[in-house]
Subunit: 310 residues, 3 copies
Amino acid sequence: MRRAATGVAAVALMGAALAAPIASAKTRDFWVAAVPVTWNMVPNQHDAILGESYAPALTVLPTVVYRRYSPHWRRPEFNGAPGAGNQDLIPGPLLRARVGDRIRVHFKNLDRFFKRPHSMHFHGVHYRPSSDGAYVPGFSGRDGNVKPGRALTYRLTAGADSAGVWPYHDHSPSMHESIEGGMYGMLSILGRHERAPDVELEVVLTQMGQFQTIDGRAFVGNTPVFTALVGQTVQWDVMAMGSEHHTFHVHGHRWLTPDGTPRDTQTVGPAETYRIRWREEAPGTWLYHCHVEDHMMAGMIGIYQVRRRR
Amino acid sequence: MRRAATGVAAVALMGAALAAPIASAKTRDFWVAAVPVTWNMVPNQHDAILGESYAPALTVLPTVVYRRYSPHWRRPEFNGAPGAGNQDLIPGPLLRARVGDRIRVHFKNLDRFFKRPHSMHFHGVHYRPSSDGAYVPGFSGRDGNVKPGRALTYRLTAGADSAGVWPYHDHSPSMHESIEGGMYGMLSILGRHERAPDVELEVVLTQMGQFQTIDGRAFVGNTPVFTALVGQTVQWDVMAMGSEHHTFHVHGHRWLTPDGTPRDTQTVGPAETYRIRWREEAPGTWLYHCHVEDHMMAGMIGIYQVRRRR
Amino acid sequence: MRRAATGVAAVALMGAALAAPIASAKTRDFWVAAVPVTWNMVPNQHDAILGESYAPALTVLPTVVYRRYSPHWRRPEFNGAPGAGNQDLIPGPLLRARVGDRIRVHFKNLDRFFKRPHSMHFHGVHYRPSSDGAYVPGFSGRDGNVKPGRALTYRLTAGADSAGVWPYHDHSPSMHESIEGGMYGMLSILGRHERAPDVELEVVLTQMGQFQTIDGRAFVGNTPVFTALVGQTVQWDVMAMGSEHHTFHVHGHRWLTPDGTPRDTQTVGPAETYRIRWREEAPGTWLYHCHVEDHMMAGMIGIYQVRRRR
């Protein structure tokens, strides 16, 4: 396959390009803490489409999430970017960078409730094993096992092959409970000179308790209400975590995959990610959802509203 | 990613192209009704490969399907295209169009048996929210909730990004039962000047009752027997519905994905679709099946016969 | 879709190219037998990450595997290629060829334990129906049903559309038990003039008993320890068998898909395959695993060690 061989050559070139200094590259610092919270997956206790109600006992759980802090831990901040829907805390902060940047993520484990170890494992970026964040007895260091009250800085580099959106998540000994509880987020890395989209929408598809959630919420009225204006460039950052495969679908819209194929429904499995872009042309109130029917029925569905500019 | 950025530009261009009048574009009208039928998933009551028998009580069910009608509801017609295998009624009529066409689907709910509401929701094409066909309390109109005895016309446009094959299906309040019962079909949209294949074969992979079905049938002898001649251009329209992922495989054949990779087995999740094309060169009797082993054992397998021209 | 149409033309051209004699094409002969063995999925009886132990009663099973023999059945040999990890017997022998080659696989059923019929069904290559290896009552011949003590030669050709990695597996009446027991392997076909990678690593993801295995083993310490040197071209041959979808992930590395998209996690469903290549630049001890969390917890995880050249 000529293509695959070209791929190897391209990766090698990228390595060389990375080694050379890039004039405009930055060092980007982020402060992220693991904090205990009480989370309600269905705040209105209601499935509007099937007309069913759910008692808080089924929808509320104590958990730990990633939370954004201002530089040097001055104060907690909202995770979401402006216009990123009505969600916060799940997923964790959207970490934005550009190809060529060095990234330092200052992590602190503030889990005083469960008192579990935590970590951050990043996909898509370059790093030394000491910033891997995964726990393997006999091999891994502190990066994969940050005890409550301790801190650690992960050092990453965005290579030419890091453009795109990527997961980060807990990979410590408490990984299993943490991921079901919402300890995941995304890196969003633009090309060196790539234009940022006007609107960036994060969609994380996971099972949580008995529900199928988007950004930790289930059912229309609880899941994010995303908004955009006609004429804007809209980017959807789509990711799955957990143990199931999903098919992400948006009504009344289509996108092109990197090979040029039009799609409006696309598979995403655990820790896979893709970004979808279009120039918005379709005013109205639309559904977005996982097209796995059982998942849609269990809450994995939301509203996307497109208005005309005034 | 340069590619993705190009994608956005391409979509924008397509929008512009759509707005301009296309000389040869047509308006295509289809008449489709929801009709109750008695359906047998295993008409010969037999799994030829494992040698097991199934009583009609396990294989026959009352259900509702989409049925093609001649213009202005004169008479019911076969759903299948000539040469499209031995199937009819499931999937619903194959709706063919070309990029640039306007499409009007005249829908009538003739479900006098269950007396449920129904609808049609179309993937891949452009339309206003009033032709979306999805039921959302407080947002959607009649298009998502066509009551028994009522009719509605869905107005669609095939854009430049609509080339390919796409699902349509019930998205009304009875969506869940309808999809399990066979209320789905495909749009097949060719490019403005694209040559049609000689043979077009529809493969819809779904669970139905305790069986894994292709076009609503289970096991060799019941599933479609597809046929082609050496030298013909053969197109497979592959789609899944329901809640499971599948891997479609054809014996003794390979195809190229849009990025140029040879494949002979390819994942398809709920509401995903792809079309496969090859020039037929391999005479013989071949198997096609889902390669998820449990699905193959539960009936998702059939025969493809290729003969030499006389 | 212009691309798809081009695909058909390309396939037609490949057919023509195949018909013409290729000066350097070879006939490659392989000898492979189905042999009964006692297999331990967890030889150290231990999950190092969760710290759990498993009794041999849970991890050891009698089964049948494909085993490589030297020409004309002189003696049994190791299945694995040099440097292919610490595994043997599962998967079956890696069968290497180049586009244009004729391949003869001499198969013998030595299953004296279960006394079941077996076969070999090959993906990705060209062959007549008599070398298909699949059992279909009324259609198939001896190729799909090789009785214990009998032998059969499968005759295959690597076409231009056969470049890549492909599964082979039992497709006889005992297919179901055989695949769960490890009767699968891979064809690895290079382009006519393509440079071979320095290191080729086989990863087969399957369920086996209650475990999720890689090459028939579960948990770090049992699964393959793959190794490479900085500067080497590394190829991963990734495949799934059975009934589940997986997402293959390697820590600290990324690859480009054929359409140029960077990935570090990629879905693979039953009988799907892909090859990943990179020039190795990241010394250290890394994890590779299925990112479906339940699968990772049930054993589908291993170690990849990269050292600097001395």
